[in-house]
């Protein structure tokens, strides 16, 4: 008897691009009739491939995926948006059927593709715990047994008999996650649900996931949060454009993924010595710039709100007594958002001798910017004077990505304005404020 609990064999899933069906029953029947008689699809253009009674292109969300998962393994699934990760989980959880191939499973399986699935706003917290638990596959008796524990985990004891529509969004997701966290399936599929709650609650969720893993359950965990993947998963697989391109121990797979994603977008380190797009006296020269994420990995993709470092190498062409280092950031519309300067924090560097080279590092505690691409412009200037020694205008692009730092991240979209701020909103009656 082998230890394998999930076996995925030649799994493929095709999706239809464009319109589904021929659009009219009349045409559908025509196609169906032709097929019944063994004739070719009468609506199909010459040279086009026949995809059933449909017109249009198919896209393979998954193509010939093969892998096995052993009992007790915590497997991370990584890949860029649209790589097919969620499709894989949907097939595993029976939400949709594969186009070809098979998945064989031992034991029962529970999926958490979203927290709060089936929550009804008019029902109370208590009723929703039961409903949601049952939807996720728990029996009523089982929920009753764990009820106290769930409420305690969610930290909403006094609101449990209030309809959830009156909950704050934080309370809502906490309750939802609490229900999910108390499932006891043999195999658990988790898709990005850790992106809920404030930092403290997230830490608690990660802890709970860790506990679940330690109980010997098998977990498949899809996330863009490489930190969480590394922390929780022993093994990882990487999906790229529907194909499994790497599997093995998490560290290796994740590192390779990060360096590849960096490469796709240009390197996370750049020589600037010969860059022409600059101004300044040239007495000091910025010769290299690099970005490091909070794991200390060179990476130009930074989570919004997550700390990161900018590393700048400067060469001195003449003797300089005191300098100020600065970083400007602009969005793609060339609007300047930030100008960080070392003298702002009372850091003035120098003196430096001609011909020396130095590295300067700025630790940035996290930027509340909307996801997107931003431009970094480093500069070096004279302290106490107006002279700019060097200013590189297009030194490097930085990609700010949503990685689950903020509670409300799931709904962040580029709005009007430049900054994203995670704030709390409340409603109250007029006289209560006065």
């Amino acid at each position: 008897m082998s230890n394998t609990v999930i076996s995925i064999e030649n799994l493929s899933k095709a999706y239809q691009l464009g319109k589904i069906g021929t659009g009219t029953l009349h045409n559908d029947l025509k196609v169906w009739w032709a097929r019944a008689l063994g004739k070719p699809n009468p609506l199909l253009g010459i040279g086009l491939q026949d995809f059933g009674n449909r017109k249009g292109e198919t896209v393979w969300a998954l193509r010939n995926i093969n892998f096995k998962v052993n009992r007790g393994e915590v497997l991370g699934v990584i890949g860029r948006n649209g790589a097919g990760k969620s499709t894989l989980l949907k097939i595993l959880s029976s939400v949709t059927a594969p186009t070809s191939g098979h998945v064989k499973i031992k034991g029962n399986i529970a999926s958490l593709l979203e927290v709060g699935t089936g929550f009804h706003p008019d029902l109370t917290g208590r009723e929703n715990v039961y409903l949601n638990g049952a939807i996720l596959g728990m029996r009523k008796a089982e929920i009753t047994r764990k009820f106290e524990e769930i409420i305690e985990f969610a930290e909403i004891q006094q609101f449990i008999d209030t309809p959830v529509k009156r909950y704050s969004s934080g309370m809502y997701v906490r309750l939802a996650f609490a229900v999910a966290a108390h499932l006891e399936p043999d195999i658990m599929l988790v898709d990005e649900v850790l992106a809920v709650g404030d930092a403290a609650f997230q830490a608690k969720c990660l802890g709970k996931m860790g506990d679940v893993a330690n109980q010997g359950r098998t977990i498949l965990f899809v996330s863009h949060n490489m930190g969480a993947i590394k922390k929780l998963c022993g093994q990882a697989i990487r999906i790229h454009q529907g194909q499994l391109i790497a599997s093995g121990d998490t560290q290796t797979v994740v590192d390779r993924y990060l360096s590849d994603s960096g490469a796709e977008l240009g390197p996370s380190e750049r020589e600037l010595e010969n860059n022409k797009n600059r101004s300044g006296t040239g007495q000091a020269k910025i010769i290299k710039i690099a970005l490091m994420d909070n794991n200390g990995i060179k990476n130009k993709i930074i989570g919004i709100g997550k700390p990161f470092q900018i590393v700048i190498d400067v060469g001195f062409e003449s003797d300089i007594s005191k300098i100020v280092i600065g970083i400007q950031m602009a969005n793609q519309d060339k609007v300047h958002i930030l100008n960080l300067r070392s003298d702002g924090q009372n850091r003035i560097f120098g003196p430096f001798k001609q011909g020396t080279k130095k590295t300067f590092i700025v630790d940035i505690p996290g930027l509340p910017l909307y996801p997107g691409i931003y431009l970094i412009e480093p500069w070096v200037g004279e302290h106490g004077g107006k002279r700019i020694y060097d200013h590189v205008y297009d030194a490097m692009q930085i990609i700010m990505e949503s990685t689950g730092h903020y509670e409300s991240e799931s709904i962040i979209k580029k709005g009007k304005g430049l900054m994203f701020v995670d704030c709390e909103w409340e409603e109250s009656s007029l006289n209560s404020i006065i």
Binding site: M1, I20, K90, T96, G101, S111, H120, A134, I135
Partner: protein, 289 residues
């Protein structure tokens, strides 16, 4: 070239095999039975959510059939002078309306299963049939409330000296409800499965049900129509149920064992076809809905 472990692997026992095609008759009824708790929670949700923040609450279950019955009494009984086989008009129409309403609401509500639950179905798997089955049970609660009102009305009319004859056939009530539930569910899930592709059917259901009522002896007794049309009306599997219900509680109606058996058989076929189609659509409807 097989290694030992490969061979061993081939003989392993798996609990679940997810493939592109399911067996047509693998209806997963055991799974459905195991989600008994879920079904009851859905019923509760429907009941609570429909009437929170309404003033009259579950009384709404009564208002609709009472107003319908009064309207029928005035228009068909009063103006049109349709026969009610000598029964009090109010009771005659009421009996037809409540049993008919049970069928009609089962049908219309289950026919929206996929469209109304697309969001939920897209995120988590549970036996999909739990949703339409819970709707049928929810409607049973509504029927029960209306039924109690019907019984109260019977007592009221009896005390006023009207003549009608309830008889031992009222023992058939559960069977009659089963047939109505089964027909509503069966056709409902067939329509629900087809609406994932053709939304038009939703509109068809809306007035189709209204028209179907006129092909069912709700506002007239079968005995009052010309014999050549009686056969036609009795082809409708709902007719025998309405007539039997009326006969059981009021003592007038055209009934036969054969007719009931026909309705029952019709119901079984509808359920079977419905479950097979539903099961088939369920597998991939998320991609097309």
């Amino acid at each position: 070239m097989h290694s030992d472990s490969d061979v061993q692997f081939a003989f392993e026992k798996w609990d679940k095999d997810i493939g592109p095609h399911r067996n047509l008759f693998d209806l997963r009824l055991r799974e459905l039975w195991h989600s008994y708790d879920l079904i009851m929670l859905f019923v509760r949700r429907d009941f609570v959510s429909t009437y929170t923040q309404t003033i009259l609450g579950p009384l709404w279950y009564l208002i609709q059939p009472i107003l319908t019955t009064i309207t029928f009494t005035i228009i068909f009984g009063g103006f049109a002078q349709l026969s009610t086989e000598g029964l009090p008009k109010f009771l005659f129409y009421m009996s037809g309306v409540i049993i008919w309403t049970y069928f009609a609401s089962c049908l219309t509500k289950t026919s929206d299963t996929f469209i109304n639950n697309a969001q939920l179905f897209g995120k988590v798997y549970f036996p999909r049939l739990a949703v339409p089955v819970s709707i049928v049970i929810s409607n049973l609660i509504a029927f029960a409330i209306q039924f109690v009102f019907f019984l109260v009305s019977m007592v009221f009319f009896a005390l006023r000296g009207f003549e009608f004859h309830p008889n031992w056939l009222i023992l058939l009530t559960p069977l009659l409800l089963l047939i109505m539930a089964g027909l509503g569910l069966g056709f409902g899930i067939i329509i629900s499965s087809l609406t994932t592709k053709y939304r038009d059917l939703r509109f068809l259901v809306q007035f189709g049900v209204q028209l179907l009522m006129f092909a069912t002896p709700v506002i007239y007794p079968v005995s009052s129509i010309p014999p050549q049309f009686q056969k036609l009306i009795m082809l409708n599997p709902l007719s025998a149920v309405v007539e039997t219900f009326r006969y059981a509680y009021l003592g007038e109606g055209t009934i036969s064992v054969g007719q009931l058996a026909y309705s029952f058989g019709f119901m079984l076929v509808a359920i079977l076809i419905g479950a097979v189609i539903f099961n088939r659509v369920e597998a991939t409807f998320m991609d097309t809905v």
